[in-house]
Symmetry: C3
Subunit: 313 residues, 3 copies
C-alpha cells in the first residue's frame, strides 16, 4: 500500500478486514516491522481517538512516533503555487512536505473541511498537496471530505457484529448544533459500497450527500421507514452539501431515540464519536447493550495498525 487517504486506496476490503481482525488478536506480533521506522503525525485540527489510537497502533508495530500540532507548534503554511508570500504564511507546503518526509517513514495528517468553499474542500487542497509533495506514504487522519481510517474501523466493527450474511445497514443523519463536515459520512458510504450489505441512507431533504459518492445507493427520506428491519443504525450529522456547509434546520425530530430503535431488527447502534448526548442520540440508546460505540472506538487502533503494517512492510 502506497498511501491511505481515501477508501479508494483499498483494493480488497474483505481481506483487509480479515487481516485487521487477526492483528487484533495478537497486536504485538509484528514489532520488528517498525524497528527504526518513524510515524510523523501532523495535526491541523483537534483529535482525541485518532491521535491516541494511531499513535498506539504505530507503537504496537515497534515504530517511533513524533506528534506535531502544526499550527500551534509550527506556523501557517501556504498551499497556492506562484504566490508572493508576504502575508501570514511562513512556509510553502512544497518545502514543508518534502522536508518532513526526510525525518520519518510515514506521514499521517489531520485536516478539516473549511465548509465555505466546496471545490477547495472536495479538491482536498491540504491533503492533496501533502500527497503531491511528500516523498513518503501519506495516511489520512481525516481530511476535508474523507475519514478513511474511521470507515475501515466501521467496516471491521460491522463484520465482527453481524449476525446474518447480508445485514441491513442504515446511515442516518442526526441533528447537531454546529456545522460538521461530510467526511465521515462520505467514507462510510464508500466503504459500505464495497461491503456485502443492504445499505440505505436516510436524511432530511436538503442534506443529500455528493451524488458522485452516493450514486446507486438507496436514499430514504422517511427515517422511520429506513429503520425498519435494520441490523445496524449508524448515526452521524453532516452539514448540507448542496447549500454548502450550512446547517439547514435543527430538525430535532431526527434524533435517534429508543422508540425509533424499536422499529429495527434489534439493531446495533454505531457512531464515530465524539457524540453529543440527547442531541444526536438519546442516553437510552447510547447506554443500551446494543450500542457499539466503545467497541467501535477500540477498533480504531487495529484499523490504523493494519494500514501502517501494509504501508511499511
Amino acid at each position: 500500500m502506497k498511501k491511505y487517504t481515501t477508501i479508494n486506496d483499498i483494493t480488497n476490503l474483505p481481506e483487509l478486514i480479515g487481516d485487521a481482525m487477526v492483528l487484533k488478536k495478537n497486536p504485538y506480533t509484528f514489532q520488528n516491522i517498525g524497528k527504526n521506522k518513524t510515524l510523523i503525525m501532523l495535526f491541523f485540527n483537534s483529535s482525541l481517538r485518532t491521535r491516541l489510537s494511531t499513535q498506539k497502533a504505530a507503537q504496537n508495530l515497534g515504530m517511533k512516533v513524533m506528534v506535531m500540532n502544526i499550527s500551534k507548534d509550527g506556523w501557517t503554511l501556504e498551499f497556492e503555487d506562484g504566490t508572493i508570500m508576504n502575508s501570514t504564511a511562513a512556509e510553502h507546503v512544497k518545502e514543508a512536505a518534502q522536508v518532513i518526509s526526510q525525518y520519518g517513514d510515514v506521514l499521517a495528517i489531520r485536516t478539516f473541511a473549511g465548509l465555505t468553499d466546496k471545490s477547495e474542500d472536495y479538491n482536498e487542497k491540504i491533503m492533496s498537496a501533502f500527497v503531491k509533495y511528500a516523498t513518503i506514504p501519506v495516511v489520512s487522519l481525516e481530511s476535508a471530505t474523507e475519514h478513511p481510517l474511521q470507515a475501515l474501523t466501521d467496516a471491521i466493527t460491522i463484520t465482527e457484529h453481524q449476525q446474518k450474511n447480508k445485514p441491513k445497514v442504515v446511515l442516518t443523519w442526526a441533528p447537531h448544533p454546529k456545522a460538521l463536515p461530510q467526511a465521515v459520512a462520505n467514507s462510510f458510504v464508500k466503504v459500505m459500497q464495497h461491503a456485502n450489505v443492504d445499505f440505505v441512507i436516510t436524511h432530511p431533504k436538503g442534506y443529500e450527500l455528493n451524488t458522485q459518492i452516493t450514486h446507486g445507493v438507496t436514499i430514504e427520506y422517511n427515517q422511520e421507514k429506513a429503520f425498519a428491519d435494520a441490523d445496524f443504525i449508524y448515526a452521524k450529522n453532516w452539514s448540507s452539501f448542496t447549500n454548502y456547509g450550512k446547517v439547514l434546520a435543527m430538525d430535532t425530530n431526527w434524533m435517534i431515540t429508543r422508540k425509533k430503535m424499536q422499529l429495527t431488527n434489534n439493531a446495533k447502534f454505531m457512531h464515530c464519536l465524539p457524540v453529543r448526548r440527547n442531541v444526536v442520540v438519546e442516553d437510552a440508546v447510547l447506554d443500551s447493550d446494543n450500542s457499539l460505540v466503545i467497541q467501535q472506538a477500540n477498533n480504531r487502533t487495529f484499523a490504523a495498525q493494519i494500514i501502517l503494517k501494509k504501508i511499511i512492510e
Copy 2:
C-alpha cells in the same frame, strides 16, 4: 494497587517509601514490567515537574507514554448526566474515559480546582468521573483537592533527610499573589498523619484547611512559635477553605525568612515548586544548604515510578 488518586489509596506508607528508595538506587531494573504497556497522560492544566517526572518514571519502567493536552489538543468535555449537549462540550466523559482506556494501560490525569464551587471541587467532579468511567487504573497528577504523587515525594524526601526518629515537621502557609488550591496542603497533611512525625500546621486565621482532613492535627496560629525546634519547614500557599477560594490578605509577614529559619532546629526547607522567590520565601532560604527543593523535585520521578510499578505489576 488499583488506582492512585488520593493518599487514602496508600495502605502501607513506610513500605511504599522503602520500595521507592530501593527503586531510586536502580531505576532501570524493572524495564520488562512495562513492555507493551502504555501510560496515557491527560492534562487539563499546565504542568512541568509532574509532566516530565511521570513520563520519565514510566519510561524507566519500559512503558510507552502518550501525552495529551486535552483542552488544547482535543475539546471540552461534559461531566453532567442527562444533559442535552447542545452547548460547548463536544464529548461526554463517559465516552471519553471508556474510549481512552482502550488505548492504554494506565490513565494519568491532571485537573485543577475551580476555586468557585467548594462542593464541586471537594467532590472531585473531574477526577471522580474518570475513576468511575475509566476501565484502566487512574493516577492523579494533581486534582482539585489532592496531589498524592507530590505528597508521596515529600514523605520520601523527609525519610531520606530526617536525622532523628520522630522529627518535627511544620506545614506553614505562605503568601502568594494568586488564589491557589488546597490540594498540595491537603495531601501533605494526609501523608504526615501516616508518618512517624511530630506534625504542626501554622497559618493566619481564616486559612483553616478542611477540618475533616486536619482533624487531630495541632494548629498553631503563631508562625514563630510553630517554627521552634522544627526539623522540616514545608511552605505552601493556599486560598481560604471557609471563604472558599479567596485570598484573604497578602499577609507578607508570613514569608519564610532566614531569620525565621533560625528559630528552628536547623530545619530543612521544603516546597513543592514552582515557588515565587521573595514572596513565598526569601532567596537566602531557598539558596541555602538547608533547602531541599531540588532533591524533593528529583524524588517526583521515583514516587511516580513506584506507584506505576505497583499498578502495572
Copy 3:
C-alpha cells in the same frame, strides 16, 4: 563535548563534519549509546525542522525524548536575580533548570530574540541562564543570537556539495516582511570562518551584522558583484543590528532571482527554511536543480545526531 550553544563550542570543525557524514551513512549504528538516556526539548518558540530532526536524531541514538512547549504546557519563567516574584512569572529559571536537569541527560532549548533590547539578546539572557543553572549539557535549538545546529548543517551540506578545494561562499541578505533575528546569519558567519572557503557577505547598507562576529570577513554592498563566480549562495533575511531589530526597507531588489544566479559559477542555492517564496527567492531558483534547501534540511538530523553523540558518549 559539554554543551553546544554556540559555534565556539566546536573545537575541530572538519573532524565534526567528517563524523557527521559517516553517521549519515549508518544512522542506526550507535543505538546503544542512548539506552536509558533522555533528551528533554523545551520550546519557547515555534519550530518544525528543528523539533522533528532533533527528536529523530536522538531516537536514532536510542535516546528517549520528552518535548515540552514551555510557555503553553507550563508557565512564564523569571530570569532576573533578586526579584520579588509577585507578577506573571511563576517560577525562576534557577529552580526550573535544576529540576528539569534531574529528569533527563541532555537539555535542548529553543529561544528567540526579543529584537527590542540588543544587550539582553546578545547576552543570551534565556540560554545563558539555562547553561548556568542546568546540571546536564545544554544544546541550543536556536537562541537569540545563534543557531549552531543550523550552521553545522550548512557546513556539512557545503562539504558534501563543493566541487573545488576552496569554494566561494556568499551569504546574502534577502527581503522579508517581518523583523527576523540575526541568529542564523551569525552562526553561519562563525562557521564559515572555520571552513576552508572564500567567504563574502553582501547586504544593503544598514544591515551590517555585529562587527565582533564579522571581523575580518569581506563585506560587499553590491549584491551582483558579490555573486560573481560564487559556488554557493546562502540567502537569509535579518533585521538591522545597528538600528536594532528594525526592518529598514523592504528592498525587494535584493530578492534572489534566476537572473542573479546566472552571475555565479553555477552556484548551489541554500536557505535554512522556512522560506517565503517570491519574497526571499524566486520560485525559479528554489525549484531549480541547483537548490539544496531540501538536502540541507535533511542534514539537520545528522548535525543534531553527531552533537548528541559527542555529548552523551
